[in-house]
Symmetry: C2
Subunit: 96 residues, 2 copies
């Protein structure tokens, strides 16, 4: 499954900047940053549950917001990119 | 169709703040802000094309990024919200 994760962290509060860094650091383990607070992740169901759990442990549920959008198998048909986007295809060939 | 729009605008540049305001103002006409730079919009195909066109006219394609994710009809099954989110159901009852 292809999952989009977007987040808003209340950085004006104590510990906000640290939570923001930890959220991004966690998402980087699972996928690709496509915008400042937006990640695209190719996950199996177990990874998805683990990622949600890890992020839930980091955020302040009163002040921060996390949104998960499961784009499913045919995610490529669902996404349109406009402007300065590094096209990213997690299933594409990795040329080394 | 239910479309998610996320954007990053280069506000450190000339005119960036103005572009950011105009992008948000345009998105507000079509849907609901769910995070700082994230909107959810319930659109028909014609509205979707119009919105994309309006936004394309505003952004600097070299510096700004716009991403559109079409979540389709069954969008409710695709979204999970964690933390400080005002649950929003564009198809829900509006109690006046």
């Amino acid at each position: 499954m292809y999952v989009l994760i977007t987040y808003d962290v209340a950085t004006g509060e104590d510990g906000g900047e640290r939570r923001l860094r930890r959220v991004a650091k966690t998402c980087v383990k699972y996928g690709q940053r496509v915008q400042c607070s937006v990640f695209e992740c190719l996950l199996d169901p177990a990874q998805y549950e683990l990622l949600k759990h890890e992020l839930a442990e980091i955020i302040d549920k009163e002040k921060d917001s996390l949104l998960f959008y499961n784009l499913g198998k045919n995610w490529k048909r669902r996404v349109e990119r406009l402007g300065a986007n590094d096209a990213y295809d997690p299933e594409g060939l990795l040329l080394i």
